[in-house]
Symmetry: C2
Subunit: 426 residues, 2 copies
């Protein structure tokens, strides 16, 4: 775990790379991909072979994984330890409860923009039959259309079900307030991403304006680091924290955000709208309930129903709840036969890769004996979340050229991060 | 100019690329590089052949270059136009004044961390002889050392000269306040980058705490977009706006920030500590004085004395003032013989580049007839600012491989952005 907290982040923080962020953009996404892969291996290692969320147990060890730099004005190491130690009480019961009931989920799959009313009705009706009670509707393209669609969904799901709306950064501040006010009649629990993901004060203004209407503000899927989340919490700019397993700097940075959200008593409702994101983030939200918040009020995890079939351990949804993963690891391994991503990039090709530093380093730090193919495969599995399948061929070709033709590239650990940064750009 | 405001930014904003930022990190830096190159060409085009800062003249045209999305709660298009129209008065006099006196500069070259006291004294003494009256000192490594060095410099330059201190993001909020308070005795005008560049509320807390000591907060060299600057201004989190010609999305986004800073009456003191940054940013600050602020109080532009010899039109400093550039363009062209950057990457090599879309697009939008070598050379000149010379060989090799070996890469305008993103990562 020490490895996860230090070396890779330190490597990314070297003079030449830090300026490309810092702690944001391609470089940060790449760091997350690599570290998520290491978390996967960690959970499987040393004969434990358990699901990743169970591998973060000891409060001291957890705290050692967190980078407190720039957040000590809101959360110190001592406070974090205190929260985690207190939450040890009842941990076993909550773990058993999760295994039995699962973690509450909501669905985003019923009401994307562009669906016909007939489609909306059909999908909603199917979802209700499957036990769903929480629904998210995409809005922001056309106000009259939004009103019609939201009324339709509210009518279908009834007054006791939960409805959320999501604008995907569509508006400026004033427009967000007036638009969402018009939708208050359908009683949305939250408006998600009303404006720029960087606009903390804008979100605070929107939150303040919508509070009398009983509508909260949710954001976070493109919130790039713990410093930003810190301020969203300080400014009362959100009422629902939507962490993302791949946008923040892996599990490590998510731990910091979960603890800050707990301190401010703001519920965490993770973002999972992307290939493999459901698989990853379920671990974080289970950890949050079992080891941090001990609270399910106003909490739920997003679920989107696509492309799970490419993963060796796809999420299991029962009665609109995430059932805790039982396979070892971080659920980020993809099927080898998912040629959609892999067909142009075989193990044969990157066997020529001559960089051994990442392996040496991780052997030294973790004592794990893993092949470079294994490390690579894991990391690849997690970073795939941000790739579009249509770009995969291009990515594979770049990997091929860099790995085979340019041996000097593979001389440092930075190289590893660069490779992933590169693949994101494609 | 319409081209600069729309097509390239739109291209960067496609679904696949936008998520890698949005508007931050490698992708945003790459966008800036390409657009800065286009501004260079624009100034030279259509028989005008004048310095870039003179090419932005007409208020309506300037406003058409600004993306007001997410900033209308602070600055609308109408307000911007109003500011620019009012500033037309006295423009000619200010232009003449600049040509005669130049724009005030400060030097960062005297007091980097790690210099011996003997070196500090020597450099300070030389600078004083050359007419410098404003000096920046790097701090943050060791408090007692900082006190000694700052006292030494203050003693050298006397009470009437200006001293600024720069911590390069060294501290958390509380530490920044206590550390800088200890340095108040040397009367620094500002503390620069006291904490994380993302921490608006942290900077606001530091500003509030240091105001009674007469010390302002300066930041911006790693402030990634107009939405962040908007909030820094809204929160009174800075007293000096340090725009960067390559960090923000080129001239276009800098125009938005200059106008917002004017509205809040916060002086702009650009960052220029990087290869070629002095050359570029002098145009922006001249524009600011002539066409926006009409004010020199508390205003000055950074100057760092290195690597200017690689540019075809290096900055001209006279008596600690930037003398307005007279050569046409944006001063970002590098000498062909600066083999430090170019030796492994010749025109012969990228003549094989098959992508013509960027050229078609720019021909269509601007009516300029320019060869791809020309576009490429300009863009290369501006993005070099973020490159370290030690990495150039690697970068060149990547360019070589991608351009020569992977023709399918060059099929879209995105390709152009990708190339630059790629070079930043290296």
């Amino acid at each position: 775990l020490e490895f996860m907290n230090s070396s890779a982040l330190d490597a990314a923080a070297t003079e030449n790379i830090v300026k490309l962020g810092p702690e944001k953009g391609v470089i940060h996404l790449a760091t997350a991909a690599v570290l998520n892969a290491v978390w996967d291996l960690w959970a499987r290692a040393e004969g434990k072979y358990h699901a990743m969320y169970l591998s973060i147990q000891d409060p001291k060890q957890i705290v050692s994984c967190i980078d407190f730099r720039y957040i000590t004005d809101v959360l110190t190491e001592e406070e974090a330890l205190d929260i985690l130690v207190k939450a040890q009480e009842g941990k076993k019961q909550r773990e058993d409860q999760m295994l039995k009931e699962g973690y509450p989920a909501y669905t985003t799959s019923c009401a994307w923009l562009g669906y016909s009313d007939q489609q909306l009705k059909q999908l909603c009706s199917d979802a209700l039959k499957s036990g769903w009670t929480r629904f998210k509707v995409k809005v922001g393209a056309d106000l009259e259309d939004d009103i019609r669609r939201c009324r339709l969904i509210r009518k279908m799901i009834g007054p006791s079900s939960t409805l959320m709306i999501d604008a995907n950064q569509r508006w400026d501040v004033a427009e967000a307030i007036s638009w969402v006010s018009r939708l208050a009649e359908v009683k949305p629990l939250w408006i998600e991403e009303p404006t720029s993901p960087d606009d903390i004060l804008g979100h605070a203004a929107i939150s303040k304006a919508l509070a009398p209407l009983g509508i909260g503000v949710a954001t976070g899927e493109q919130c790039h680091n713990r410093v930003m989340f810190k301020q969203f919490l300080q400014a009362s700019a959100l009422q629902f924290v939507q962490i993302d397993s791949c946008r923040l700097g892996s599990v490590n940075e998510n731990l910091a955000v979960l603890l800050m959200a707990y301190k401010f008593q703001v519920p965490v409702c993770p973002h999972a709208g992307g290939v493999g994101l459901c698989e990853l983030v379920q671990h974080l939200i289970l950890f949050d309930y079992i080891c941090v918040s001990a609270d399910l009020r106003n909490r739920m995890c997003e679920y989107v129903d696509h492309l799970h079939e490419h993963f060796t351990s796809p999420v299991v949804i029962q009665d609109a709840h995430y059932m805790p993963p039982k396979d070892p690891g971080y659920s980020c391994e993809m099927l080898e036969e998912s040629g959609l991503y892999f067909k142009h990039f075989t193990f044969v090709q990157y066997k020529h890769w001559r960089g051994k530093n990442i392996l040496k380093l991780s052997h030294k730090r973790t004592g794990l004996k893993m092949s470079k193919e294994k490390v690579f495969q894991k990391a690849w599995g997690t970073e795939i979340n941000f790739l579009q399948s249509s770009f995969s061929v291009t990515v594979n070709r770049i990997f091929f050229f860099l790995l085979i033709k340019v041996p000097s590239f593979s001389e440092s650990f930075d190289f590893f991060l660069i490779l992933f940064g590169l693949s994101f750009i494609m």
